[in-house]
Symmetry: D2
Subunit: 337 residues, 4 copies
């Protein structure tokens, strides 16, 4: 069923050997409005993607990057590591290609913050062209963006779980405890991703300074809640799936008893945010572009507890990239995902 | 290798068909100083324990409770559900049997709190005889106790992870996010414990009022930190293992920068508390009586993050019961576990 | 996303609370050519399917069976247990409804064999109307069938893995060792499906007489290889996925050295059989209607080893039912799956 | 808990950074009759073993091999890869150290067979000194052996599951389908041991020539059954545990109907073979030195099906090494395991 519609928007995936890039390739390969042109990779060149990932069923050979051949496209999905991404994005922009970048390189608006948490920025002059690619917050800006900085998986879940509270200016203090499956650690085979390390195990990591912290703070601040948060992720023995548990102390204990009303209003028309009265599980959203959210009040402490569940490779990475491409090229937002 | 030393202390397990009772039976069956007399159960009567749990290798038949036959013992481990336990403990106390009770029935010192979170107390007159069975806090009182209320799994991990801070009066506000394997949900086969429900899943439960909340609050208050806490557990796809992630806002931001020193001092001589500079994982403590603890300061927020990892069936239940029995009967605290 | 095309074929699912019935409901709910009418169940009546199975996202309430209301349809998917299915199928046939039956009730052509392995047959008079619903073997007969007996999961994998050899009359002796995830045991919460029983475990079951044995024998015989086989399934700690490992001693050691050529020819045009040179894994086919097959010769023994991997709930049950419905109602065979 | 009894037998572990070597170190560290001297490794030199494997709780630093310092011992456990082991064993033997070798280097008595399946043998002159270290078969020879070739995990399970039949000369043809957890693939982090590869997956490997094949054939022949077998292992998503399912066509269909009687007799006094009437699961033997065996007759085909379950790191490797050391140094066979 490989579609190849003439006249459609041409897209290539740069960095298609990794988990997120490969999934983006699969979604594009079957997308009715995009034509998948090439897949490049920095490892496994010459290998067909369906040998690496049989379940994606994409019979396209991974190629070494050759911009002269690969950049004659309308759009690019870049799935390079942080730091390595910005120079490639710059080259693609020089050829007028619109880019969805899965790395962190264009997520943080302030290059000083980027440098504090990552490294020296490789293309700060492009930050002005970049829009933070969370459609539920920046839908209109994404439509016209030259660069869409696809959000981190944890920030996607956390910001969606907290946006209604943050926009109402209700959060005074915030702890986020996050849990993720192992695919979030990427394809590299290391002691940390060895089955025997992870299986029947459960442990925190990145304490106390995980790099998604400033990204979450930036977006909450943009919504009106300027906070210093504590964010702690944990590795869980499952492959795809992520849950954030957000503990918000409210500014004013006399505030609205019914946080849920804020959420109902905020998400009434969102195709990919699912508000549940129950408690979300990551199985509910596996292999979907959906973030499932719930909000609860702890009457004993006055705290509000909000949960957000998503598939870290889908809404947390590749399918959200397709959602962004749909917006950028005037397609229905839900098409192909 | 079933030991059966004459002259030793006789113990029976009441409620030995469940996960915790069966493990207590296994540990007692091989304990050098206790003689395991009888195993009673409310289901599976007539079945040998090694048919239900081959890996425990205890070739003893489960019997229906008959106090006239079963109460001629020095000590009892009672592994009944909350509410059902108190009446049996009362009957055993009437025959002068010393009891380690795995239920919640004697954990909360104030029967009004018990009634708020559980039900009407079935034997409030015995509360005076009960000691909270966390040896690291109540070692001396346990030695002479008639009833030892074996702590809940989450309170064991949380109180050990927080005791040095609580004793120093440093905690102003506290969020505890806990994660547990499925054995914590018990042996009952339900939709919630079905493999297909739990596998590749991850979800919160008991929001916002899990019953271990007042137990943790009671013990922190006893240490000097009277707090209302937010406590949220999550179900994780593994069998045995539990991690608590504790987020403490300190009373006085000018307090000791080195929380770790408090922990080193508190736990220097504890045989079953392991302080690690790294981040604990539940695999580190599987099938041991050890609680592995670490403490970290988040300099950006001033918050202290403390982790506690244990095996919910061992230190969180059955092996802690044996640790208590060792204390009650003058045995070395580490014997047989 | 809920399609509801006027003029399309109307289908109801009877027994939609179980794993296979619920998945059939999901596939029909989104199928472009079928209109999903009603979901009946024998438990959970009044509950919406998306409460039981959020990930299926089918917002339809489960109803108690009422043939007068529920049988005004073109087709039925019946997902009742063995024995309970035949009477319902008889009632549906009396109203001229065409049926895909997921139970074993119409799979075995000889009622005496059914009675030996299951129980007394409840509707032997209908056996003449039934076609064994493995499209790769009975495509043409399925198009016109009144009753399609959807194959068992193991027989689907085993027969597809062996058909080219069986049709060539090459198999003299056969051992099939099968492995399945836990969803194959169904939705009932029992000690056998409890997470703690299955996790980190691995064990055979149904030894030496699993009920899928005569079904496999029947279909191999229909292909020309009349054998008595040894078939042994094992329970594996994963949710969906099944692998059969087939060890065939050949009739004539001088036979074709290249079994693979037979397979290439047999499956060249099959949309849902994937022949791989490598070794198939169940992850390759998760949540697809594909059976992935490989065949290897053990030169030391002359034996041929064939593997078949599928998703027991999809190609092993619900999506194969949709494949059959597509054939029965003149739709493209791959539509909606 | 670290015992260090003067006058006891001194042992070092060579290659203690791997899974099996590390477990051997743990068992020796706590063994009442052996004094653990040194741990050498080819990676992670300078690291304490309890940093690599916190759960083993062995606070000994891994050292680079220095025979002058490390070979002044009574016994060595060598846990080197195949091929690398023989030269080290030769050096240890030159210093009169008795060796338990966990590699395959001394398992195959015929160096030509070793060379066919592995590589050129590095120390064929020592093969005469080696005894195959399956105590249930070679107990007396092991007591005096200079080199004990610790069996492979699959051969241990398979030979124990089949020995009574093989000794009676009953097997005419044999298929062994084996399943193992991921720890059997060793500590190396590769695409094959990445959590995301293995989780929710299940696949065969080593088809059709896994190296344990000639080892099983050798031992069955030694028992009187000279066969060419088909042996196929599969990778299962669990960490420790292994099951072999053995399908034996009998020489003489008129043979003993009660294979079980042969097993009862063979294993009546074996401390580490557990004969069960039910079906064994790997969970039953996790972290034990026990092989759990059952035997069943398939009356329809006359075939006998035998199962053997063990923990591949324990009875399949490290604890069996300790069992062998116990025999070699006159200790009770069950001591310390």
């Amino acid at each position: 069923m490989p579609p190849s519609s003439a006249g459609s928007t041409s897209v290539s995936v740069f960095g298609a050997a990794g988990f997120a890039g490969a999934l983006a390739a699969r979604l594009l390969y079957r997308h009715p409005s995009f034509e998948l042109r090439a897949l490049t990779a920095r490892s496994d060149v010459g290998v067909r993607l369906d040998e690496l990932y049989p379940f994606h069923r994409v019979p396209i050979v991974l190629e070494e990057l050759d911009l002269d051949r690969h950049a004659e496209i309308d759009a690019a999905v870049v799935a390079y590591p942080h730091g390595a991404s910005a120079p490639l994005v710059a080259q693609l922009r020089a050829r007028d290609v619109r880019v969805v970048d899965l790395s962190a390189d264009f997520r943080l608006r302030d290059p000083a913050v980027y440098e504090e948490w990552y490294r020296e920025h490789q293309a700060p002059e492009l930050l002005d062209q970049a829009v933070y690619g969370l459609p539920e917050l920046y839908r209109e800006q994404i439509r016209d963006a030259a660069i869409v900085a696809n959000p981190g998986c944890y920030p996607t879940a956390a910001v969606l779980a907290l946006a209604p509270l943050a926009r109402a200016g209700l959060i005074e203090d915030l702890v986020i405890d996050a849990k993720s499956g192992v695919s979030g650690a990427g394809r590299a085979a290391t002691a940390k991703t060895h089955f025997v390390t992870v299986d029947e195990n459960l442990s925190p990591y990145g304490v106390p300074r995980h790099r998604h912290t400033p990204e979450i703070e930036q977006e909450l601040a943009a919504l009106g809640s300027d906070l210093r948060i504590t964010f702690t992720p944990h590795m869980i023995p499952l492959d795809q799936g992520e849950l954030v548990s957000c503990y918000a102390t409210l500014c004013n204990e006399g505030g609205p008893r019914d946080a849920r009303a804020l959420y109902l209003e905020a998400y009434a028309d969102e195709p990919f945010v699912e508000l549940t009265e129950g408690l979300p599980g990551v199985r509910d959203v596996r292999e979907t572009n959906i973030c499932r959210v719930s909000v609860h009040r702890d009457d004993r402490t006055g705290r509000v507890i909000a949960f957000g569940a998503l598939d870290n490779l889908w809404k947390g990475a590749a399918s959200q990239a397709i959602q962004n491409l749909n917006l950028m090229f005037g397609r229905p937002e839900t098409e192909g995902i």
